[in-house]
């Protein structure tokens, strides 16, 4: 079952270098914890700001997917 407009955010800790670009771009959705990027909340309402932050990650460590369908929202080609 799809939850309309809900996204899940995950960060690959193996890829994350803790640059903090995500937290700097979007402190509403990302923070640094122990030197690595972490979502403030794992599940959020759809918001373009999340896409921008995911696209800003220098390592492409952030993955944003639709809750339910798991369809990738960002990063996209």
């Amino acid at each position: 079952m799809t939850e309309d407009g809900r996204w899940q955010i995950s960060i690959d800790s193996g890829t994350c270098i803790g640059s903090g670009v995500c937290a700097g771009t979007s402190p509403k959705y990302f923070k640094l914890d122990g030197g690595y990027g972490t979502p403030v909340a794992d599940e959020v309402d759809a918001d373009d700001e999340v896409v921008t932050a995911a696209e800003s990650c220098p390592m492409e460590a952030i993955l944003v997917r639709e809750v339910g369908t798991e369809k990738v929202v960002a990063p996209l080609d």
Partner: protein, 400 residues
């Protein structure tokens, strides 16, 4: 924690020679404490040289870049920074600007430029081969590749390159030019980008400058001043650093033929080799841009008081034995290479993926197409530029 009365060392320790890193940095780093230096302008500063300290200063927002704008901060170059640009901003202003171009610099978008970069390099090497040895790989490859790519990305006319190269060279000078010439370089770039912005306004385009003009005119997301300076930053950063590193990396490979052979024997090593060369090559002639502590912060047991300046030396951090085994040696087979050649924190190089791509394509193509490549002059005669903020070759004369 100790409060120290550490005598300040005059800085720079020495004039940057070729790609050598002054051993004083390593001594200070291995000493395990924050160094105190007296800069040629603006007084004294702390200097971070360990991987941990440099990452802290670059990543912790208690160290501000915005606080340096218009201030007589400790620094290596004579002029005070008065113009706003991405590098002298803190979040949230910094994020507001950086967001506007983030889409153009994602890993995916940049990877899409690989075929074009290869096409450009193929053309440049065609010309070089047609003319026959000797050739200058700086004029013939290292400069034109990144200039072409950034011009196309931004929407800057390639025909203007002699003009903006000259201005960039002066603007990024330490001692190579007079203060007046440096200012003229900065003014020239500003005036040039102002004209270009006007053109992109008259004739809307999909190039990055066109997008930035729309962000300003339609959405009021940045000021006119920020727009022009953003253009300057992207243009200069988009070619100076990569052009210099391309030359520097080729110089390193040619002056250590066993490394060259290693890469020629195993082309799959190219990408890790580029990462290792990024780690080991000091890009800056000296310490990087200062940051001002906005609160008291302890670094490696030293109290940095609010208002004090801290310089960072990425090149020293990249050779920290606590992080890298046999840190002073070049090893293309390194298992783990978390270098910070592209910086760290919110100012992490925006163009890192573009730089990587250009370096991979340029170096890889030279090795493939000019397998017998070697210096055309004795290595001591290969000229490095002197007195610049960034290390680089004046020319790279090669034969094959």
């Amino acid at each position: 924690m100790t409060t120290v009365d550490r005598g300040a060392c005059p800085y720079p320790f020495s004039e940057a020679q070729r790609l050598d890193l002054d051993p004083e940095y390593g001594r200070l780093r291995d000493n395990g404490e924050l160094a105190r230096v007296r800069m040629p302008y603006g007084g004294e500063a702390w200097m971070a040289t360990s991987y941990e300290d440099v990452k802290t200063v670059l990543g912790d927002l208690r160290f501000s870049r915005a606080a340096t704008l218009g201030a007589d901060v400790p620094r290596t170059f004579p002029l005070i920074q008065t113009e706003t640009n991405l590098l002298v901003m803190d979040p949230p202003d910094h994020s507001r600007l950086r967001k506007l171009v983030a889409k153009a610099f994602t890993m995916r978008r940049i990877e899409m430029l690989r075929p074009r970069a290869q096409e450009v390099v193929d053309g440049l090497l065609d010309d070089i081969e047609a003319q026959g040895p000797p050739a200058d790989l700086v004029e013939g490859l290292a400069l034109p590749l990144p200039i072409t790519m950034i011009c196309e990305l931004l929407g800057v006319p390639y025909e203007d390159r002699d003009k903006f190269r000259a201005w960039s060279d002066a603007a990024l000078s330490l001692t190579a030019f007079t203060v007046d010439e440096i200012q003229q370089g900065r003014d020239g770039l500003k005036a040039y980008l102002t004209t270009l912005v006007a053109k992109h306004r008259e004739e809307p385009s999909d190039a990055l400058l066109g997008e930035l003009v729309r962000a300003r005119d339609e959405d009021d997301r940045l000021t006119e001043d920020e727009l022009v300076q953003f253009g300057v930053t992207l243009l200069v950063a988009g070619h100076e650093t990569t052009a210099n590193q391309t030359g520097n990396f080729l110089y390193t490979l040619l002056s250590q033929p066993h490394l060259l052979r290693e890469l020629q024997d195993d082309p799959d090593l190219l990408n890790p080799a580029i990462e290792e060369l990024l780690r080991i090559t000091p890009l800056g002639s000296n310490a990087g841009f200062p940051r001002i502590a906005t609160e008291d912060v302890v670094l490696s047991g030293t109290l940095v008081k609010a208002g004090e300046a801290v310089m960072t030396v990425g090149a020293a951090a990249n050779r920290d034995g606590d992080v890298f085994d046999h840190a002073d040696e070049i090893d293309f087979h390194r298992e783990n290479n978390p270098h910070i050649a592209f910086g760290h924190g919110v100012h992490h190089c925006l163009g890192a993926q573009l730089a990587r791509l250009e370096l991979q394509v340029a170096v890889g193509s030279v090795l493939r197409r000019l397998p017998g490549v070697r210096f055309a002059v004795p290595v001591e005669e290969v000229p490095f530029k002197q007195g610049r903020l960034i290390r680089g070759l004046q020319a790279l004369p090669v034969a094959w």
